[in-house]
């Protein structure tokens, strides 16, 4: 499946200048270059918002790996996006402990008020994507929600509209 993405035709490398230097500095902390794979993918996602096939190729080249190997790793970890997502990527924990405390209602409210409608879809304004996530490790603070890198505890269906307002 290939998705036509604006700007992907003329791919601009991520690992140049300071980004490349930062990656190379990290190399001092590991015995192998492959160990830099997860950090490098994080750097790509931070810069580009997602990890495209071309970025996979670039990471492979920079680390001396094959694109297939990198892609196998990218698809293993759920936090790496293999396609573009909304400006605010919202992850809602619905695993059992949170499920006991109303996570599903929180999720429904998020889908409704964000305009996403369904899981994994991006809202028409491109602002939000809402997904379910397995245990965020904050079960005592049901329901935890992540908006990009921000971690928000104790979100309830009632508090969702106010939460979303912060990102509009």
């Amino acid at each position: 499946m290939s998705v036509a993405v604006h700007g992907e035709e003329a791919y601009e490398p991520v690992f140049t200048g300071e980004t490349l230097a930062a990656l190379e500095r990290k190399y001092a902390e590991y015995p192998t270059r492959q160990a830099l794979l997860l950090p490098a993918l994080w750097m790509v996602q931070e810069k580009r918002g997602w990890i495209s096939e071309k970025a996979i190729g670039e990471v492979a080249q920079v680390l001396g790996l094959t694109p297939a190997l990198v892609k196998g790793v990218v698809t293993f970890y759920t936090m790496y996006h293999t396609h573009p997502v909304g400006k605010y990527f919202i992850q809602v924990c619905t695993t059992s402990p949170c499920g006991l405390c109303g996570a599903e209602e929180t999720l429904k409210a998020l889908l409704l008020h964000s305009g996403c409608g369904e899981l994994g879809a991006t809202s028409p304004d491109g602002r939000f994507t809402v997904v379910e996530v397995e245990c965020l490790g904050a079960c005592g603070f049901a329901t935890p929600v992540m908006v990009n890198e921000e971690f928000i505890e104790s979100v309830t269906a009632d508090s969702v509209p106010a939460l979303l307002e912060r990102y509009r």
Binding site: L65, T66, F76
Partner: protein, 530 residues
């Protein structure tokens, strides 16, 4: 070097194996096959992933079933591969493997040589508990490379293919993508599975998930005849089987030989078989008559004509031989011109070398003929152009099935000498030959090749020869027997080999029987080059 041995009892059979041997290999020594999918002796066994969980066996005193592929034997260990617990567990694995499998054996090429089919037939459940309640996972067929398609629905994720590419070919073009029951074998976008040895993943795949496009829907496994042979594609001499349906070669497969090719063969050798099925063959002997035209003859006439031509003659004889000619044919044809000054050469097409990185001393070699070293041993050189030049003025030119370019054909056709052709294919220059003898290809005869490591290996006749074609060694032997009182014509390739071997120091005493089916390294191999 003495190794520490340990004794284990597997299904009641005691075997002694070197310390460090895995249970699965020890079981083989006891004649017991432990069902398995992910383990393969051709892949690095020290890192066998033990993921299929098919080979779990009961080891007495162990708290749970142990994977036979990674568990090493211990002295006094008692293993049960057929206990209720082991059987139940395998039945469970088979059921899990089948829930998302399409069960499309009737249209699957692997059917008949499918390890999922075989083990399910032997040990699996008669009926599934999954369908029709739940739909099976479906993913479309993927085009992986020039000769390989991937049918994900049949995949059992044994990852033999992934490990072959990463650990043996050392070019990790395949991966496992995604997780859980959504996982599949993937390639990166724009990448192709086109490594020169990638075809091996089709052999390694225990199910019908990775398939050869070339072989797709060509034949059912049970309709094929298999014959042990040697790949004629280069000087490596990979051991192969030739698979025939009716009277056509439909595929070549590697045949394990730990000293030559392990479990593998390259794609060049694998796919270069169409010439074996060519129809433009010389089907009857041709003899040039007094009027200068050639006409079909019977074998006796043709052999007499060739014999007469050589009898008592002298001067320069040139042999232009194919690098696919066997030791037997090369040796006896060389004997035919024993009274002459001989210039003998084999034609050696060249290509790029393509090593299989993870296996020492295994590569598709530059010299794309199987018997260059056999030819050298028998007095042939690779100085092909010199020999062609010499042919122009030689007294006798013998063409032993060499495919001639236009220029070479013209050198032969306009030669001042007499031309004797041992030919498989029809060619224009043959009308200038005094005698044309219809001979068999290596698929249609038995014989011996000697590879680049001075290993003599037998190949076996797989295919019936067309019409009157006979092996070149037979024709040469018949001519020789007509020339001398003590020369008996050989009646078999084994006899022909014995005749040739008598005169070559490094072959002396060797026989077809002694070579067996995995060949033998010549003892004083390296020093005998002509």
């Amino acid at each position: 070097m003495s190794q520490e041995m340990v004794t284990v009892t597997i299904d009641g059979i005691a075997v002694s194996v070197p310390k460090g041997t895995t249970v699965i290999e020890a079981a083989k020594q006891a004649g017991i096959l432990v069902p398995h999918y992910c383990y393969h002796p051709g892949l690095p066994t020290s890192t066998s992933p033990a993921v299929c969980r098919m080979c779990l066996v009961e080891v007495e005193k162990a708290p749970k079933l142990m994977p036979a592929c990674v568990t090493t034997v211990a002295d006094g260990q008692v293993v049960h591969t057929q206990s209720d617990q082991a059987l139940e567990q395998r039945k469970g694995v088979l059921e899990f493997l089948l829930i998302n499998h399409p069960l499309d054996c009737p249209i699957c090429d692997q059917s008949g040589e499918c390890e999922l089919q075989d083990y399910t037939f032997r040990e699996g459940r008669a009926a599934t508990r999954y369908t029709p309640d739940f739909a099976k996972r479906y993913n479309p067929v993927e085009d992986f490379g020039p000769d390989i398609i991937y049918v994900p629905n049949r995949c059992i994720l044994c990852i033999r293919c992934v490990r072959f590419m990463s650990d043996v070919a050392q070019e990790a073009t395949l991966n496992v993508s995604e997780r859980g029951d959504r996982a599949f074998i993937g390639v990166a976008e724009g990448e192709r599975l086109d490594h020169p040895w990638s075809g091996n993943v089709v052999d390694l795949c225990p199910v019908g998930s990775l398939l050869s496009k070339d072989f797709l829907h060509k034949a059912r496994v049970w309709d094929m005849d298999k014959t042990g042979s040697i790949c004629p594609g280069c000087t490596q001499g990979c051991n192969i089987t030739i698979d025939m349906r009716d009277d056509a070669v439909v595929r070549l497969k590697p045949r394990p030989n730990m000293d030559v090719n392990r479990h593998f063969m390259c794609d060049h050798g694998r796919l270069d078989y169409r010439w074996m099925n060519r129809g433009d063959r010389v089907e009857a002997p041709l003899v040039r008559n007094g009027a200068g035209s050639t006409a079909a003859a019977d074998w006796d006439q043709a052999l007499d004509a060739a014999g007469a031509l050589l009898q008592g003659a002298g001067g320069r004889a040139v042999i232009l031989a194919s690098g696919r000619a066997s030791v037997e044919s090369l040796g006896l044809v060389r004997k035919l011109v024993g009274n002459f000054d001989v210039t003998a050469a084999v034609k050696v097409p060249l290509g790029d070398e393509a090593p299989l990185a993870g296996v020492p001393d295994l590569a598709l070699r530059r010299e794309r003929v199987p018997n260059l070293d056999g030819a050298r041993l028998l007095g042939y050189s690779a100085e092909w152009d010199t020999a062609v030049e010499a042919a122009r003025t030689a007294a006798v030119v013998v063409v032993l099935d060499a495919e001639l370019s236009e220029g070479e054909a013209s050198a032969v056709a306009t030669s001042s000498g007499k031309v004797i052709a041992f030919s498989t294919l029809i060619a224009g220059w043959q009308e200038h030959a005094a005698v044309v003898l219809p001979v068999t290809t290596m698929v249609e005869e038995s014989g011996v090749y000697i590879n680049r490591d001075q290993r003599a290996q037998r190949f076996q006749q797989a295919k019936a020869p067309p019409a009157m074609a006979r092996p070149a060694w037979w024709a040469a032997g018949e001519i020789l027997s007509g020339q001398g009182p003590d020369a008996d014509a050989p009646a078999s390739a084994a006899e022909a080999f014995a005749m040739v071997a008598r005169d070559v120091a490094s072959l002396d005493g060797l026989t077809h029987d002694a070579l067996g089916w995995s060949g033998r390294a010549l003892t004083n191999g390296a020093g005998v080059h002509a």
